[in-house]
């Protein structure tokens, strides 16, 4: 089993959805796709590289066709920095109502507080990856953000020093350092 690769951890949570939950998810996911405010805290926290939710109403069967599930299932996958309970804990503390909106319609969800039952529920419904790989294992999500921002400033520096006299390079370099000091 391998749920981690360098700084990154994989989590796969698979859990049944309660009655009327499917309609709730349809609305929630529609809003989240169109209103950036809903996912803004996840972007600000910057420790999720990628994640996604899938609602399954049927699955492949033994005949090569598909069988309808007695109730829909929510399949959540995430690639993030840290361990699963810390990950869920951080979101529970910072965005409790969004977490409730995301998980309340699932079966057995005990609320995000107190944390003990919530941790237990998370671990109970998490499936380990049999194989996991990431392209840049030594980088956290924040590292990727810093690198992309510095890359943009390097383009500015490149243009500034192209054909510039050697004595002015130090000036451009100092300006570059001032602009990127928080990211270097």
């Amino acid at each position: 089993m391998s749920d981690s690769a360098g700084q990154a951890t994989a989590v796969s949570i698979v859990v049944g959805i309660r009655r009327l939950g499917r309609s709730w998810y349809r609305l929630l996911f529609f809003l989240a796709r169109h209103v950036r405010y809903i996912t803004a805290p996840m972007r600000r926290q910057a420790f999720i590289h990628f994640c996604h939710w899938m609602v399954l109403t049927d699955v492949p069967n033994e005949d090569g066709g598909r069988s309808r599930l007695p109730r829909p299932v929510l399949w959540f996958e995430s690639n993030y920095d840290g361990d699963v309970t810390r990950y869920m804990d951080t979101f529970a503390r910072t965005i409790p109502w969004r977490m409730r909106a995301a998980w309340m319609p699932t079966r057995g969800f005990p609320d995000v507080f107190p944390s003990g039952p919530f941790h237990e529920w998370t671990v109970d419904n998490a499936f380990e990856a049999s194989h996991y790989w990431v392209a840049y294992p030594s980088a956290t999500t924040k590292d990727v953000g810093r690198a992309l921002r510095v890359r943009g400033e390097v383009d500015v520096l490149r243009r500034a020093i192209a054909g510039a006299p050697p004595e002015s390079v130090a000036e451009h370099w100092t300006a570059f350092l001032a602009r990127t000091q928080r990211d270097l």
């Binding site: 699955v59 690639n79 079966r107 419904n125 990856a129 810093r146 510095v150 490149r158």
Partner: protein, 170 residues
């Protein structure tokens, strides 16, 4: 192209769950992982959804009747191209993995089979939506510029010019 979430869900044949797990556990990891050889891959995983209840690991996945195999990846190119490339890189391992799944075709049409088993995400999120090569280049450039920022304090203008030429070289 924006990153896309690709998820392929297939049903595991009766009695094949443990053998499938053994195959997946035996795949080379890190730089030798099959995903490492497929261009445009941010990350990839195989997960066996084990629905069998056991005293030490009860599973309560609502109504899923049998074990399932999920192959998922975040990629920056079309699913067709990426899957064709994955199958090419996997070689015989593709049959050793999905041969434990219902309906896996021998020989042709394997990309079509996988695409037919694709599950679309209801919601996908990315903090940074950049192609994988761009992220890798940015990380390497960041390391060079950080190192230069430290060294540059003791450099003359000419040395800095030369060092920048080197650090900014593609």
């Amino acid at each position: 192209m924006n990153c896309i979430q690709l998820s392929i869900l297939t049903a595991v044949l009766d009695g094949h769950r443990d053998a499938l797990r053994t195959v997946l556990a035996g795949l080379p990891t890190e730089h030798a992982s099959p995903f490492a050889r497929v261009a445009g891959t941010h990350n990839g995983r195989w997960v066996v959804l084990d629905t069998a209840a056991s005293p030490d690991a009860p599973r309560r996945v609502g109504g899923v009747p049998r074990p399932m195999l999920m192959c998922s990846a975040v990629i920056d190119r079309s699913a067709d191209d990426w899957l064709a490339n994955l199958l090419e890189e996997l070689g015989g391992d593709a049959d050793r993995i999905w041969g434990h799944c219902v309906g896996w075709p021998v020989g042709a049409n394997r990309v079509s089979f996988l695409l037919e088993h694709r599950v679309q995400p209801s919601l996908a999120f990315a903090t940074w939506n950049a192609p994988v090569d761009e992220v890798r280049e940015a990380l390497a450039l960041h390391a060079r510029m950080s190192a230069l920022a430290v060294r540059s304090r003791a450099m003359t203008a000419a040395q800095l010019h030369a060092a920048l030429d080197k650090a900014l070289a593609p």
